[in-house]
Symmetry: C2
């Protein structure tokens, strides 16, 4: 279909205000927020509800127009950016911002895909419940993007990934049909788990327009601590000990290396090591509970036992909210510190927790020998086996050199990850970023299974082409 | 392929001891344990490992031989019983009983599909961990069957269904290829969630030969209580209150009606109402914790508050393990009591928890008016919204009358379930039992999505024909 006709027909479906046609208006849609990917589009379409999404998809299906679904455009892997052909329509969910229903007795919340994650959290809070998904970008990312990428974050240890937090979906299929799978059930064994298939499929199988989410009892209090340890093996040992003693109260267990904290202290205003000495590794722990009165004692005695056993070197427990927030600000300051300190070659990897320490030892050695001048910035969600094992290049590194080193470092690190049975994209998704690498690390059988499903559900290959597969 | 040739070639693949050919030996395989379904098979094949399963499936694929995978043969829906044609080979996993690895640091356990659930639980316990899946049949059901049916049970409230308890799978595809997806990762966003697709697919997409399971910190103690309430709405109110106060400590929240307890007391030796008076509804609650010292007080004060608020009528807290076991024996005695009291027309349904009480009111009314002489036996996992809303027919009901009433009752109950956004198979799966009904209650879009996936992964329709779809 020619562009003028496509646009005219789209304007009938969503109204003129539902289309973004001018280059200036399109600018924030055709480029990812990191500025890594830039594409073009004939039109950004902004439907108001699933019925309009359905109509748009039917038209795109008939006219064989490829579609790139987009939420808050905060992804890390270029999954929501169109290619440079200018042929891919961007379908933005950013006008679908309705919280449809909160049911505190069923512990569910139903919402449009375009709702900001922070607004979902807030709606749950207003009902005296918790929606635990929590990310750095929660003020600008959308529920639909969280679902499409199966977003992770800092509460996965206790509450799981986005997939674990959804009970049902509403999805517009590539041919425009609407699958209403918005069930609010904890048990439903009536066929294939379609919901889990669409979650994490990065817009390549259909467009998630709504979701039924799980809510949880709101914790009534927290206890937070900062720990210094001699090695990553010790940090992992502490995790095991904390889980045994505190069970589900352990809501977060974050780790950063000494060099990572150094960067934060150097580049983030007001940041300081909560401990008096420098330690090779640090951990940030949080306990939470619906009945929190015992938390400080529990945290104290568990960490006290770990200190006595020589498992950790030092620790400090936050005495109040403000101290706890200071500890979390260190964790949250990593991105900013990294950006100021250099150009990061990022890895979002996971390995089994029991192999984490050995993996890092081996990777550190390999990188120090091959790339001796490049500092490693290692931090992550240890409780999930998820490391952001990044490497810093100078801020003024030439683009070609940056590309060369990125490829070389990715290859070295990801080969080691694969050897340990790990994942090359733990929480950020594949998008454009890891698409070529995926073929290197997935077995042919697994690639073929995914392609069989893709061909079955999107035979014309119109959904988010060039992403994931 | 002719039967003698098929058998000869199979014997080359798995050895003579791997085949069951005589009618007597086949008897326990061709009939389900409830005696509801009876079929025939040319041969029961019992491979010893995934490589043998792969070879068998390759042969079946080449010879277009349909295959029925079977675990412990303890299913409720006829999903593991071949049809009467005598053409379907039974592939039993019962020689694949190896616990492959327990990793207490990663909190994972890797096992063959043929391992008994009780043996998985035991292996976890030996490592100081918990594998929480717990069913009445745990001494005879297998992990593979639990995965294929996404089994539920009494711990779903806290730990989720089987799908939530698996991190990775090994699956032999219909054409004999092996997908090794045995990853032990909490985060892995590298493509479609194939694992969740095979789990709950009831053997219609491939054969699960191994799994990587999640383990949990072992609770160090429990507190158990028995509650009497005036209505189901009160029981649901108590659930909400308990969740707010106790959070994740609430491990079980079971319900039974007065009539259900009457049956148990009448038919199970030594069974008695733990309370002095009869109440319209009862709940059995369990708290557990890694640090259990506060549990009795917490249970007492929460139930005390509920009593004072008039939310419940009476309650008793187990003072020791033996009292707790007596309470659980009542719950576990339901099947036996039902079998002795009559022929049950069973429903394994779920509705949103907020609609449970209204659903039961409406269903009770409808059934009492249409089937005034048939007692309703209502019990279930209220914490998951899952009711076993059964109806008792006389033990000597004529087969034709049993069939007629079953169909009429199923229709009445399931129509009401569907109106409330519920599921007609919460935990037992579809199998042969609910296959025809599924088409009535699923949308055409959802049926079509499932069929598209089935055709893509099993184009020759050889996997467990006649089940689910």
């Amino acid at each position: 279909m020619r562009k003028p006709e496509l646009i005219e027909r789209l304007s009938h479906l969503v109204g003129d205000t539902g289309l973004v046609l001018d280059a200036e208006g399109q600018a924030p849609y055709v480029r990812d927020w990191l500025g890594k990917w830039q594409g073009g589009t004939p039109v950004v379409v902004r439907p108001r509800n699933a019925t309009e999404v359905s109509a748009v998809m039917r038209l795109c299906h008939q006219s064989r127009t490829p579609v790139v679904p987009q939420g808050g455009n905060t992804g890390m892997s270029g999954g929501a950016t169109p290619d440079a052909s200018g042929a891919q329509v961007i379908l933005s969910l950013n006008r679908m911002t309705r919280i449809r229903e909160v049911d505190p007795v069923n512990n569910t919340l139903c919402a449009d895909a375009g709702v900001l994650l922070a607004d979902v959290q807030q709606a749950a809070r207003c009902a005296g419940r918790l929606f635990p998904l929590s990310l750095g970008s929660e003020g600008s990312c959308t529920l639909g993007g969280n679902l499409a990428t199966n977003a992770g974050g800092t509460a996965v240890l206790r509450y799981g990934n986005t997939r674990d937090l959804a009970l049902g979906l509403e999805v517009v299929l590539p041919d425009g049909r609407v699958w209403n799978g918005l069930r609010g059930l904890r048990k439903d064994n009536t066929g294939y788990d379609l919901k889990s298939l669409f979650i994490g499929s990065e817009g390549t199988l259909g467009i998630i327009t709504g979701a039924m989410l799980k809510l949880f009892p709101a914790p009534a209090g927290r206890a937070t601590a900062w720990v210094g340890a001699e090695s990553l093996a010790q940090v992992v040992g502490l995790l095991t000990r904390m889980q045994a003693a505190c069970g589900d109260r352990l809501t977060a267990f974050e780790m950063m290396s000494a060099r990572c904290l150094d960067l934060i202290v150097a580049h983030v205003d007001g940041a300081a090591n909560p401990l008096s000495a420098r330690h090779p590794y640090y951990a940030l722990l949080e306990l939470s509970d619906t009945e929190p009165s015992g938390l400080p004692t529990m945290l104290e005695s568990t960490l006290g036992g770990a200190l006595e056993a020589g498992l950790i070197q030092d620790c400090v427990i936050a005495m109040n909210d403000s101290q706890a927030q200071s500890m979390w600000r260190l964790r949250e300051g990593i991105s900013q510190a990294q950006m100021r300190a250099g150009k990061a070659v990022k890895h979002d990897i996971a390995v089994p927790i029991s192999r984490l320490a050995a993996f890092v030892d081996e990777a550190d050695l390999a990188l120090m020998s091959e790339f001796p001048h490049l500092p490693i910035v290692n931090f992550g969600h240890i409780g999930d086996g998820n490391l952001h094992y990044n490497v810093l290049l100078p801020l003024d590194v030439a683009p070609a050199e940056y590309a060369r080193l990125t490829a070389a470092l990715n290859r070295r690190v990801h080969d080691l990850v694969a050897q340990r049975g790990g994942s090359i994209s733990a929480e950020h998704g594949v998008g454009q970023l890891r698409r070529d690498e995926l073929r290197r690390y997935k077995s042919p059988v697994e690639m073929d299974l995914m392609l069989m499903i893709k061909r079955a559900l999107d035979p014309n290959q119109l959904m988010n082409p060039g992403k994931l597969l």
